[in-house]
């Protein structure tokens, strides 16, 4: 079990290996479809300092606004990462994030960007929105709330012992590719083609 304190440096991420569980503490920034499009269509100087060395979390949370104006994450599991594939490599490079948390894995372009920039893809267990919301200890601030709505806004949060599995590491290995290939071979057998 690895422990990663965020923000972190490149060496800490290069030490992570596929198949390893990693507990994260420190800063995450949520971002999904609207955010990735926005981040990659220009340089967003206001969010850049929050992203350097941190990790982007593909998550559209249920958020409660408290009477004092602060926010609480009510439910906050990962969303499908594949949708960010067209933008992810550029976002990683431009904002120097050290990784991505999501579910379902990502494609070849992202895999190469992880190697090039020293970042990792960390898989959270999809649907476990209650457990993961409990790992969010503080909502620091939010960007683009008005423009994107709560699920798509970029929430800067602090987490403690947020559970993930490394499924794509900074050395070009992807658990998703391995499983897709192995299951493809079984499929061919079941279809009587191999």
């Amino acid at each position: 079990m690895a422990h990663l304190n965020l923000p972190c440096d490149e060496a800490a991420v290069r030490a992570l290996r596929v198949g390893e569980e990693a507990l994260l503490s420190g800063r995450l920034v949520t971002g999904r479809d609207a955010a990735h499009h926005w981040l990659s269509s220009g340089y967003r100087a206001e969010v850049a300092p929050f992203m350097a060395g941190a990790i982007i979390y593909h998550c559209g949370p249920v958020v409660r606004r408290n009477p004092d104006g602060s926010y609480t994450f009510v439910a906050a599991g990962p969303t499908t990462s594949a949708r960010e594939e067209p933008y992810q490599a550029e976002v990683i490079g431009r904002y120097q994030v050290r990784g991505v948390i999501g579910k379902g894995g990502m494609g070849d372009k992202t895999r190469q960007a992880l190697v090039e920039h020293g970042a990792a893809y960390l898989h959270a267990v999809g649907g476990t929105a209650q457990s993961l919301a409990r790992a969010v200890v503080r909502v620091e601030r939010v960007f683009q709330l008005e423009e994107f709505g709560a699920p798509e806004a970029m929430w800067v949060i602090e987490v403690k012992d947020f559970p993930t599995v490394v499924t794509m590491d900074a050395h070009g290995i992807s658990l998703h590719d391995t499983i897709a290939q192995a299951s493809g071979e079984v499929l061919q057998k079941l279809l009587g083609k191999a």
Partner: protein, 294 residues
């Protein structure tokens, strides 16, 4: 229940159950899957996390998954009840449940990209009312998230690449392909609702309605019953496992129905449902008594 407001209040209760309480049959199937996975494996870890989360959600009365999905209502009602009123009550219930954080603000205007902020929009919720000859009302609700919706698939047979002809064997081949294509992206272990026949619209609706069947029920049509068993077994042989981490538990169930088709079409519609199978069924007797069959 006489007014729109009464019905909306009741529908909020149905939503509250669906969003927070994993049905018993699904919990049992997850536990069973857990016994098959190797100690210390990622599959075992994922199933433990899922079961723990289900307990938390239930005890908190909070959404087990943040993607509370498209609420799909199927309502069977006796003659004399207004379907217009029931539809409006469903919309009102979704807005109230969204305000109470039982549902996420989950509806976006497709043209402007703006979130409506209240959970409803044209087509959301999706409401299907049908009159029947019984005195009571049956309400079925499925909260179907976007991740598993995006890996759902529809095949037009014949499909030469998969060697799939227009018969049950052809259907079996494309269904297995759909499970392979989905990998872990639909938040497996998943449940497949399948419709053989119909058109591209009705086929998917029937496939989704199949997802309301409890996992332990037996299909009354013998050849479909056998096909459900076989596909469950073969799907699990694929080794995709929980979340696509690898493992023995790729599917929790397969449910297959049929609709008529036109001679020119043989469609197989496959609605993939994530492990967070948020469904609820309620019956309202003629005297207003509510029951929750499992």
């Amino acid at each position: 229940m006489n007014s729109l407001d009464d019905w909306a209040t009741f529908f909020v209760e149905v939503i509250a159950r669906a969003t927070a309480e994993l049905p018993d049959d699904v919990t049992r199937a997850l536990r069973q899957g857990r016994t098959r996975e190797k100690e210390g494996s990622l599959a075992a870890m994922a199933l433990d996390a899922v079961l723990r989360n289900a307990e938390l959600a239930c005890s908190q009365g909070a959404p087990m998954c943040q993607d509370t999905g498209v609420p799909i209502f199927w309502i069977h009602h006796p003659a004399g009840l207004s379907t217009g009123m029931l539809g409006r009550a469903c919309g009102e219930a979704v807005r109230r449940a969204t305000a109470q954080n039982l549902l996420r603000e989950n509806a976006v205007d497709t043209l402007t990209g703006r979130n409506t902020g209240n959970g409803s929009a044209p087509g959301i919720p999706s409401v299907h009312c049908e009159e029947w000859d019984r005195p009571e009302v049956k309400v079925e609700l499925l909260l179907k998230g976007g991740g598993c919706e995006n890996v759902s698939a529809q095949y037009s047979l014949p499909h030469s690449k998969l060697g799939a002809d227009r018969n049950l064997e052809g259907a079996r081949r494309v269904i297995l392909d759909a499970v392979h294509q989905a990998q872990g992206r639909g938040c497996g272990p998943g449940i497949l609702g399948v419709c053989l026949g119909g058109d591209r619209g009705t086929g998917y609706m029937e496939a989704k309605h199949q997802l309301m069947r409890p996992l332990h029920d037996a299909n009354p049509v013998p050849e479909l019953c056998a096909m459900e068993q076989r596909l469950l077994d073969e799907g699990n042989q694929l080794g995709i496992g929980p979340m696509g981490f690898g493992g023995k538990t790729t599917l929790l169930g397969v449910k297959i129905g049929t609709l008529g088709r036109v001679p020119a079409s043989y469609l197989v519609s496959i609605a993939y449902l994530c492990w967070a199978a948020r469904r609820a069924t309620a019956r309202v007797a003629a005297n207003g008594d509510v029951s929750w069959p499992t």
